[in-house]
Symmetry: D2
Subunit: 357 residues, 4 copies
């Protein structure tokens, strides 16, 4: 994409008949804003894709909203290349395949009130939505879920004032910090649905604090442009078309080269120590989460992102993780989203890879 509103790539594929706009169920994009509170590149991109799809399908705003999840993640620090991945879903009467293969489904929660953002009611609603998505994807075994992307809301000054007017407390008065709480609650919701976590074990205080609780397949990203959660679930299922596989691994810290290699193998790439260039061409997409360890250290060395008041630490984390992945896969057009609260261990995060068969 040449800018947040550049929909020409999708338009070309539609014009060529490669993509049927009626079958689009989700657009997952990396846009080039700061990835923080005042990042309007996400909303701008959503606006542009939505306008284009409304125009081409003749659907209303409300009709399209029920069909397509728009999940834009801001921040292309370092070498990340702005792009969007468009997911389509064709319902056929073919019988389920013998072998499981890649499938993606999308869905939504209801809208949240400002005072619900970052609380247990978000955990619950997201868990419900993920469970329904597993069902519709034909996935019984939670181990077949490899990536669950959730776009969740944040608190602005207006939302905080709104809650106060009604006498309701909000989880934080810091708008930037509200992004973290929202991501945290959504990630715990994914973990509950995939049975990595047990809902009764999660207290309100754990959200955004108890890093021992995490999902290995959650990827959550907050934005100013919505008040509900939009979800995309990816896994391997007998309902898959057989074209792609997905696999994943968990990075233990932001420079965990070995975890990236494990994810590539888990998705089906063949190699010993490092994949060769031909094998790398099988990679269709890479999705990962990034964050700085709350200890301020990496491999026991002091790092400075957490005390940097000029550049938010999520921006440092995205630059680092995307660079390491790009150096292995040989392509900077990958999706790395910042803020991995309860998404992998403290300082680490999940990485998922889709490869063609």
């Amino acid at each position: 994409m040449l800018g947040p509103d550049d929909v020409s790539g999708l338009k070309t594929l539609v014009d060529q008949g490669v993509i049927n706009p009626e079958e689009v169920i989700a657009i997952l994009g990396k846009t080039e804003g700061n990835g923080c509170v005042n990042d309007f590149s996400r909303g701008f991109s959503t606006f542009a894709f939505r306008s284009y799809l409304q125009e081409i399908t003749g659907k209303t705003h409300s009709q399209l909203s029920k069909q397509v999840a728009f999940v834009m993640s801001g921040g292309t620090e370092g070498v990340m290349s702005p792009h969007a991945v468009v997911f389509t879903n064709r319902v056929t009467d073919a019988t389920p395949q013998d072998q499981k293969s890649f499938v993606a489904v999308s869905g939504f929660t209801r809208e949240f009130l400002p005072e619900e953002i970052g609380t247990k009611s978000m955990v619950f609603e997201v868990a419900e939505a993920v469970t329904q998505l597993m069902d519709s994807a034909g996935i019984d075994d939670p181990k077949d879920v490899h990536f669950v992307q959730v776009k969740c809301p944040l608190l602005t000054s207006e939302h905080i004032n709104n809650a106060h007017t009604r006498g309701k407390p909000v989880v934080t008065h810091d708008t930037y910090k509200s992004m973290a709480y929202s991501r945290a609650a959504a990630a715990l919701g994914v973990g509950v649905a995939t049975r990595e976590l047990n809902e009764v074990d999660i207290s309100a205080h754990d959200i955004g604090h108890n890093w021992g609780l995490y999902s290995s397949v959650a990827s959550t990203s907050s934005g100013i442009e919505l008040m509900n959660c939009e979800l995309i679930l990816m896994g391997n299922s007998r309902l898959g078309s057989g074209e792609y596989w997905i696999g994943h691994a968990v990075m233990q810290d932001s420079i965990d080269l070995q975890a990236i290699l494990r994810a590539l193998k888990n998705a089906g790439l063949n190699f010993e120590e490092l994949p060769n260039p031909r094998e790398l061409t099988r990679i269709a997409s890479v999705f990962a989460k990034a964050e700085m360890s709350s200890t301020g250290t990496v491999r026991n060395r002091r790092t400075t992102a957490l005390t940097d008041s000029d550049i938010n630490h999520t921006r440092h984390a995205r630059a680092v993780v995307s660079a390491v992945i790009a150096s292995v896969v040989g392509d900077p057009m990958i999706y790395v989203s910042g803020g991995a609260e309860h998404q992998g261990p403290d300082g680490g995060g999940p990485i998922a890879v889709i490869v063609s068969q």
Copy 2:
């Protein structure tokens, strides 16, 4: 280092007798400022190390300045860990060794006038200084030079006004941009001394523009805290003590994993595709330069660092290159400096590695 003024690491080594302060010839540090014009962490660190060394040796400011080159490079974006490498030099009457090994020497140019910064007179003075350093290091063959670190000045608003008062033009009125011109001229000077470049082929206009001209061993870094150049030359020589080797390679872009592996091999590490953890412990230091390609692309993908008006592109570049190197060597305490004008090809840069034998 716990902060720019933390000299406790050096103090401990001096107190333990590991380092003789009289033998210190250079301190090469990564400090945690923004690495740009208003980065006072470099000057603060220099001030602190200098004060400590003056106190412990009883030398005056002027005496110490002739003994020690202080080269502080700002910017520890991503995971880089603030630290300093202290070089000592012991002159012995031992005969030269049969095998070449690591040696480091330091030196200085004269002070420059504001109007000389980024011009051919800097190229010339730096080339002269490097040639003398090769001589004192016992290096005849330029191929034995593996890294030449130069700390060079920049233009502030005061310097620009000063030149104007005297009716002299400066190379740019943009203080941030002056850092690039200064680094560019210094790097070309290194290339001339190592015979990678021919001085007569370099026109004034080439400085900061003709990226076809470059040195593979230059590493230049500008700072507000000096008006001359301070140099540290590293190579392998028969005058070396036999403890370490140095090697290098040139990264072709900022995610060039293979070049990092080549540099490790060139320095003497033994491995096939990826070095194992035991072999990695032999690494003493890694020095590299980082920059974003002037085309705005990496592997033909559009990147956004050059159009980011919130974070300077040198900061993005340092985050990327240091992350990739750290993921390979398993340690974020490495030296990566931004702005690789004429230091390796456009978008790439040299990487040097010191390993114990």
Copy 3:
């Protein structure tokens, strides 16, 4: 506005019949991005207002583009409040009034090639466009022109590559700096049209360098979202409706309180030293330009905006000038745009005020 895409204020006025969308000729907005290269809030806002007006008028993109100039200026640093001023123009068969009063007209230049941005061909084209606008506004005497807002293009990495492919030089390779050259050329064009400057006196080198050449009524702002110039000219004319007056003054530096007071008086406010609250309610809009002096000083004191590598100096300048004006007029919902090259003297800039009669 609650965000760059908030068109609800305009929608309410249209719904109430206060504004006839067919009569809208220009929308001049302050949006909340960084005001620099990667500010997508400008394009987002333009997209949203344009979409709304297309929907309500049934016009095509191309038809609307000929009717309405969208001039969004990014950057609401400090206390500036994001907002848009909508200008409408009703052509009547009433005879011209005896007394001159406020009138606004809008227009466009052709699209520029990347290599033309910041050059004399921009100066010429803008001068032509302004001259035509004066004509259509019924203004003979250039002294009746009080503010000419020009939105002009900038260079991105793509534009620079595009020019290079065709073997054409661009005025600068620094994308942020290209904004300054573009503003500079457009401002000189205004000065030529208002006869403050003589086109033959302006050399290519003067653009962006010779601060002795300036217009007192030009206000130019560059953005990534267009390749032509969009113009809004404001003055007092016999064709005015008699509701408002406009006046202006020139701030000599960014804290020139007296110039603000002069502008208020010039526009028709009545007061001795400071206007009282009742008189201040007559103010409809304030437009001003801001910049830091190229000397790095204000009232002979050293300031640090020009050497700040974290925050661009245009952002500092907008924060300062808008704060000073807001403190006088008692309202932070004012328009202050950064980068006043050739718009008032070095470090200063024009301020225009519209007051109701």
Copy 4:
């Protein structure tokens, strides 16, 4: 000052005999860092002034620490000019004057543990220290206290880990936010000492939350370079030398022009609506605090500083308040410090002015 380490101004005054270094009791400086967590300009400046004073007086670090309070406040956004105000105190045997005049005294609290920062134990210790300072300044009536500057510590990642190691909770895990809690507790401590607040009315939860509790003369500023509080108290007293007066007022918001004028009058300037240039030359120093209202609005207009993830809101606030004050006093060399928690009402802050008689 030409940089954080520029002590030449003080040196000149010492060389000229204007200042006796033995009589220096405090140095209050504005340095040009970001004023946030990773601002090393404060520590650098302190290091430089301390080194100079040690050298000139022959005192040890510890001896000098008991004599001089170094209070450096980072952040010269907008037009603020980096500078330091040096306070000297000469004890004479002269009898107290009939008329009260300006006096300044300095002092210190003990060092705090990380877990104490931002808590009631800070409130208590600061209140104790201020009470002692009032005593030594000969001030009985709290109304004669016009400004109490406190430099207080902040939490770094290391401090937080240190507290955790000992099983102690800290007030926040966000290093930037810890600056606010520390300033808040210190300000409440001042209010207790000046009897504006009653210690028993302040609960732990009020610190950093209940903006109804505030002091009109507190000015607190946090920094990475100390773990205790350093204080400077200014007021009018019969022990004053008779050369200067101090007065103050409270800005209700960040563009409160009338409060600035009230402070000038309170300090003794003579004028009706606006002071004339001659009267302005009597101003020796201006000290003020700045912050953005927690509502995100100024005069009921939405502002964007609180949702700006690129520039911290304290930086916006300093730019605004210093610009407004500079426009009135005609000089940008003033002291405006950010983060006015419990220092004046929400969104406002105290302003104090010293004028010569």
